[in-house]
Amino acid sequence: MSRGMLRKVTAALIIAVATAMMVGCERPEIHRDRFIAFGTIVELNIYTADRELARTAAETVQADLDYMHGAWHAWEPGAMGRTNQLLATGMEFSANPSVLPLIIEAQRLSEATEGLFNPALGQLFALWGFQSDAPQGPPPADEEIQAILDQDPTMDDVHIDGIRMRSSNTAVRLDLGAYAKGYGLHQAMEHLKELGVEHAILNAGGDLRAIGRPGNRPWRIGVRSPEAQGVIAAIETQGDEAVFTSGDYERFFMHEGERYHHILDPRTGHPARGTRSVTVIHQDAAKADVASTALFIAGADDWPRIAARLGIEKVMLIDDAGVVYMTPAMEKRVRFESEPKEQIITPLPDDSLETASVSPPA
């Protein structure tokens, strides 16, 4: 046999194997990226056969979130920081277009939560030190807290007329922490859709928005237990949905054996007590973000009323005794990994759900 033949046989084998491998590579798969953005860990799962799209998408999300974080951070020299300086003067000014829609929407949601979501209390969050990556305590003195509460800054104090804005209360400082992440995830995912991404989960610090499905199964989400490391329940997403949880274990400091977490009750100025976590499933990520915080503060007694006002149908609240409260719609969607001690299914009050869904006259 000639040397040329040898080469040809080898070439044939290589071609056959290479063809077989290329066929294998075109199968869509889940591309996972993790990076730090928005002051937290961000995870992007994209199901696609297009490697290049997955890479571009990850870069786009990172750039988007970094931009939004800078623009919306209450205490950094971005658009929101500047807005806060101007609000403190009590004079009228032209609002920055990058924050105006957020503020208008936050105002509406603050009202729907009966003020439990009160982003005007930026000074209170700063006093506790929860705006930093590593809050340290100790808790501030009661007099300092009371001094801020006495000034009673609320979203009603912010007056908006077109693009002109003014605060009638100089104590107003906007901190959209409980809302900006949801809004940001919403925007970033819209951008991904424009790029052609159809199946993805964008997760920022445990809160996520999912679209599509990876092949012929749904996306599977594990809900972490507030008690310990581990998963309490599994949720399979349907279409375009956001899953948001607010928990007392997310950001906190310990002081003299007591845990001080970051979800502050605007009525007391202290961390809200009685609840361990609230999980919400909703189409609108921004609203889900606000709802999980507000329902946490509302607690086991009041959450159904607030949820109905917000038009949120899928809620799960775990109180500090480990009792799980759920709406009937939520019960259909969660599968418990370990059976909770006690489950209470609470339907939402109907009438208020209706009033919430009626849009106000223009």
Binding site: M1, M5, L6, V9, T10, L13, V17, I30, R34, F35, I36, G39, T40, I41, E43, N45, Q62, D133, A134, Q136, I201, N203, G206, D207, L208, A210, P214, W219, R220, I221, G222, V223, R224, Q229, V231, A234, I235, V243, F244, T245, G247, Y249, E250, F253, T279
Partner: protein, 120 residues
């Protein structure tokens, strides 16, 4: 009779079979790696079955990654609350420890995760 080309084909076939054994049967290769990301760049991808220590320098200081007994952990990190360390030993695919101040992510790689994403 068997020709030299036959012999070559058989030899290559044996090579292919042996290759697949080496590739797919090497002890637990794909599921037992840990990836270290610093400042959004992958800086290391290490097997979990080789004990070693790795020091990652980030904006806040040095994060020490320790690998031993098929698991990895954040042994030291500049964060004041020890959140990175409190994640403990990471061994299952998807386990993760994060130092936000030092912008370091330590995660165990693998395909066999039960959930696509975690909500907390």
């Amino acid at each position: 009779m068997i020709t030299r080309a036959d012999a070559l084909v058989i030899l290559l076939a044996c090579g292919l079979v042996a290759g697949t054994y080496a590739w797919l049967w090497s002890p637990g290769a794909p599921a037992t790696q840990v990836r270290v990301i610093s400042g959004n760049e992958e800086v290391a991808r290490l097997p979990l079955d080789e004990a070693q220590q790795l020091e990652i320098t980030g904006p806040a200081g040095i994060t020490v990654v320790e690998i031993a007994d098929g698991a990895a952990r954040c042994a030291a990190s500049p964060g004041t609350q020890g959140i990175c360390q409190s994640a403990g030993w990471l061994k299952r695919a998807g386990d993760m420890a994060v130092s936000l101040p030092n912008r370091v992510i330590i995660e165990v790689l693998g395909d066999e995760t039960e959930f696509d994403s975690m909500n907390y």
